[in-house]
Amino acid sequence: MFPKTRNAAVARTWDREGNGELLLWSRRRSQRREDCAAMTEIGGYLERVLSPADRERVENHVAECEACRHEMVELYQLLKAPLELAPHGLAGDIAAELVQCLNPASMARAAQGAKS
């Protein structure tokens, strides 16, 4: 049997016409499930801000999904990490750049639209 090396995977992928291309990422996709919780939901679970129903859904899913358990652990570590100061001047540089890409008139319209 031919070993499942990366080259072999590529060979199979490109031997086929058209849809074969999608096989390239099959390994990656296999780790993601349709019912996986969003990262912000996992964060909300850790912060205890989710509704009881959402909390239970996330809890049940994480109990059986290893990928989401890993995500939850990393997110927990990030949320608990001691804050490090941003390099001097970074915030000012970014703020100056952001001003260039803001369009107050269009944003005010969007904000108004979201309210109504």
């Binding site: 031919f2 990422w25 909300g44 890993h70 100061l85 970074l90 703020a95 952001l98 001003v99 269009s106």
Partner: protein, 185 residues
């Protein structure tokens, strides 16, 4: 009790540049901390300039297209700080995985990071030395990020036709490179 991260984003969403400056000042440390930790745990030869670029991209991602991404923040789902941590982590992972400084305000940040939880960075399955840097990036954006052709065109500042053309050339190169290799089952 008021938290360090309590912040009213309404003026930012309305395009108030002063509010954006305050927003960046308040959260730059948090975003920088997350980007640094995510990148440091996955890459030994970490370049601090790259961390700065990722932090910059996080804020651009939040502000671009009338702050579409920040507008999608839902306080009933998580706090603003957690929302920013998730966006920062996703942006850092995009950079590590694809060499792609992602300033696109798409909401895929909330799901796309799923597979790197082990701490390992997934290496794309393209053979080395076959694709040019540009072809490689286009293929990653199309097949790994699963962006539409129009989105890739916008990200790279080129026309959709050029994206299709780059993809076509990349596919040709890969097919040529892999011809004759046996398939596996």
């Amino acid at each position: 009790m008021q938290s360090l991260y309590d912040f009213d984003i309404a003026p930012c969403l309305a395009g108030d540049s002063r509010a954006w400056s305050l927003f960046v000042g308040r959260f730059a440390g948090l975003v920088h901390t997350v980007a640094l930790r995510v990148m440091r745990t996955r890459r030994k030869d970490l370049d601090r300039a790259q961390v700065r670029d990722v932090v910059r991209c996080v804020f651009l991602r939040l502000a671009r297209k009338d702050a579409r991404l920040l507008r999608g923040f839902d306080p009933e789902r998580c706090s603003l700080a957690t929302f920013l941590v998730v966006v920062a982590r996703s942006t850092a992972l995009d950079f590590l995985r694809y060499g792609f400084l992602n300033a696109e305000p798409l909401d895929d940040f909330d799901t796309a990071a799923r597979c790197d939880s082990s701490g390992m960075i997934f290496e794309p399955g393209f053979p080395e030395g076959v694709l040019t840097e540009r072809q490689h990036l286009v293929m990653l954006l199309l097949f790994a990020k699963e962006y539409e052709v129009a989105t890739v065109a916008e990200i790279l500042g080129i026309t959709p036709q050029t994206v299709r053309s780059i993809k076509h050339e990349a596919v040709k190169r890969l097919r040529f490179h892999t011809r004759g290799l046996p398939a596996f089952n």
